[in-house]
Subunit: 93 residues, 10 copies
C-alpha cells in the first residue's frame, strides 16, 4: 500500500465543500480540516504508486475551491498496526 | 477521537531512529518518512484533546534527532470509514 | 477550557469591520488589532475542543474581509491566574 | 491596559522550563504551549507601554531556552468583557 | 514619545502618491521610499501609545495604493540626541 | 543628506549591548529595540552616500552580537520637517 | 550538452495541458508532474547554452497555464552513463 | 519506472565530493551541480516505488556533506522518448 | 559612480518587452533575463546617488509588466578594472 | 560571452576579506558589497558556459567566509553598449 499525505490550501470559505468533494475520490480515506498554515490534509492510501497521478493532480487539485496542493509521499511507514489489513477490511460507514 | 498530524524535521541521518522511537509513544498510530520539505509525519489519534500536550511537546519533541515539530490538529474529520471503530479494534501486529 | 490563538490576515481596509464581527462568534473572548506580520489576533476560549471546528473554520474564516487564518491551539496553559473561574464569571460589559 | 502577544520559538526540549520561568515575569498573565509554527505564546498585560521594553527584550528574551521572540503589540482591543476589571481583580491561584 | 517604524508595500506605480498622502496623517514625521524588500518606510512619533491604533490601521493602512503594512513599535530608543525636544520644536518647513 | 534604515537581528541576549555600541558609530542618530521580526532598527543619516560602506558593513555589521543586517537606503525622503536643519543643529544631549 | 532543470508552478487545473504543450518545445526531453512544492519539472538538454534563452523565457514561460518558472542550470553533470550518446541516438517513440 | 528529482543542499565546500558519492547509489542515474537556490539535483530512476525509501532517506541523505534533501516524486512522465528502453539499455561508460 | 543591481519579477510573458523598455531609462547599462527566482536583473550606473530615486521607483518600477523590484545598492565596488573610465568612454553600439 | 550574477551571503564580519579574494578568480570582473538581503554580488563574465562550474562552485563557493551562493545565469543580455568589446579591451587598472 502506498500512502500520501496531501497538504491543501483552499479559498477561505470553501473548506467544507472541498473536503466533502474529496471523499468521492477513490483512494482518499480521510480528510481533516486542520489548524496551522494549511486548511485541509487528505490521506491517500492506494495499492500502486502509479494511481497517485490520477488521484492528486488528476482529481484532488481540480476540485473547486482548492488553491494549492503539496503532496508528501511516504517512503516508508512505521506502525504497530497492520494497516494493510485494517484499510482492506473496509470499515465503510 | 482527536487526530493530529505532526510534520517533523529531523537531523538528516537520524530519520529512521527517530521514527522507531516515536512508535513507543502512546497515541502515535503511524509514522511516515516522506518526500518534500519535511522528513517525517506522525499521526496521533487520542481520545481526549488534553492528552496532546503530553504526546507532542511532552514526548515527540524530546526524541533525539527531532529538530522541529509543527502540529496540525484536526478541527473536523471527514471520512467514509468508521475510524473510531477501526482504531479502537486495535489491529496491533 | 480549551484556548486557541488565531492569527489573522485581513484585506487592508476591513480590519475594524472584521474585528467587530468576530465578537459575535460564541467562544471569542478578545480580538486585538496588532502590529507585525498579522492584522488581528482572536482569542478563543471554549469548554470542549470539538467546538473549535465551528468557531474557526465554521465562522471566523467566513467573515467578510478575512483573507487567511492560522490557528495555534494551546496544548497546555501556564498561569498564576484561575482562568477558568475568571472567564466563567463572565465580566460582560 | 496595553496587551502584547509574544510568539516564541524555544530550543525543542526546553519548552516547559521556559514557560514556567516566564510566569515569574511581572506582566505575563498566561503562557500557552501551542501547535503550529511557534512553541509558546505569552500574553503580556501591563498598565503602560513603556514597561514593555523591560518585560520582553529585558526579561522574556533572556530566559534560557528561548531562541526567538516576535512581539505583536495590540493597537486596539475589541471585547465583550471588561478586561481591565477582570485582570485588575487578580484571580491569582 | 512613542516611535513606530512602519514597513510598507505598495502597488508598484503608486509609491509617490501614497507617500505624499501619508504626510497628511498626524504623527507621521517622515516617509522614505527605499531600496530592498519594502517600498516605503513611515516614521511615526506620537506622545501616547493609544494613538497608534488610529495612525496605522486607522489611517495609513487605508491609504489608496497601500497593499500591506508591518509595524515595528520601539520598545526603547537609544540616541545621543534629545529627540523629544527636537521633534517638539517643530521644524515644519 | 542620505538616510538608511538598517533592520538588524541580534543574538537574543545581546540586544541592549549592541544598541549602545551602535551609538558610537558616526552617522547613527537613533537605535530602536523593536517588536516584530527584527530586534533593532538603526537610523543612519550621513552627508554623502559613499560613507555608508564604512558605517554599515564597515562598522555596524562588525559589532559583537549582531547576527544579520538588512539595509534599506532611502531613494527619497518626504517630510513636513526641515530634516537637514534639524539634524545639523545637533541636539546632542 | 547543456542541461537545465526547470521547476514550474502552474495554475492548478492546467497541469496536464501545460505539460503536453512543453513537449513541443525543442530541447525539452522530459516533463514530470511532481509531488511537493512545484507542479511540473521540465528537463531541457541542448547543445549550446545560448539556446536556453529561447527555450525557457522564450517558449516555456509563455505556455498558457504556466504561472512561474525557476531554472536550475547544470554547472556540471556527474553520471555513469554516456548521456550525450544516449540523448543524441534519439529514442523517439 | 518511477522517477524522483531530489533537490539537495550541501555544506558549501563539499559539493563535488557529495556528487561523486551519490553516483555509487543504485538508481541514481545523474547528479547535476546547479545554479540557483539548491546545490545539487540527483535524478533517481528505479523500477518500483518501494525502493525509493532505501535510495533517498536510506542512502542519499546520509552522504557526508549533504545538509538537506527535498524529493519531488514524478506522478507522471511526459516524453517523446522511450525512456524505459533508454535507461534499461544501460549506456554505462 | 554609484551602482545598483535591481532584481526584478515580471508578469510571465512580458519579460522581453520589459527588458527593452528598461534600456531607454538613463543610467541602465545592462538588463539580463536570468535563471533562478527572479526574471530580470538591471544594472544601474549613475554619477550621483540622488538620481537613483528617479531611475528605480520613478521609471523602472512603472514599466508595464514589472511586478516587483528589489534594489541592491552597492556600498563599495571591488574590481581589477577601471570601471569609471570604461563606462564613461561610452561603447554605445 | 556568458554572464552570471552571483548573490552571496557571507559570515558577517568577513565581507571585505571575501570580496577581495573573489577578485583573484578568473572571470570575476566586479564584486559589490550591497544593501538588502545579500552581502555581496559578484559579476562573472566568461567566454564559454562550461567554465562557470569552475568559477562558482569550484572557486567562489570555497572562499573562506562565504556562507551561501545563489547564481543567476543570464539567458540573454540587453544593452546599448558593446559589452563584449568593452570587457575584452581589458581596462585593468
Amino acid at each position: 500500500m502506498v500512502t500520501a499525505i496531501v497538504l491543501i490550501r483552499t479559498e477561505g470559505e470553501r473548506v467544507q465543500e472541498a473536503a466533502q468533494a474529496m471523499l468521492k475520490v477513490e483512494g482518499v480515506t480521510e480528510v481533516y480540516s486542520v489548524t496551522g498554515e494549511y486548511d485541509l490534509v487528505a490521506m491517500v492510501r492506494i495499492p500502486e504508486f502509479e494511481k497517485l497521478a490520477d488521484v492528486v493532480p488528476g482529481q484532488l487539485a481540480q476540485i473547486p475551491g482548492v488553491a494549492r496542493t503539496e503532496t508528501l509521499v511516504a517512503f516508508r511507514c512505521y506502525s504497530n498496526y497492520d494497516l494493510d489489513r485494517m484499510w482492506s477490511l473496509g470499515f465503510e460507514e
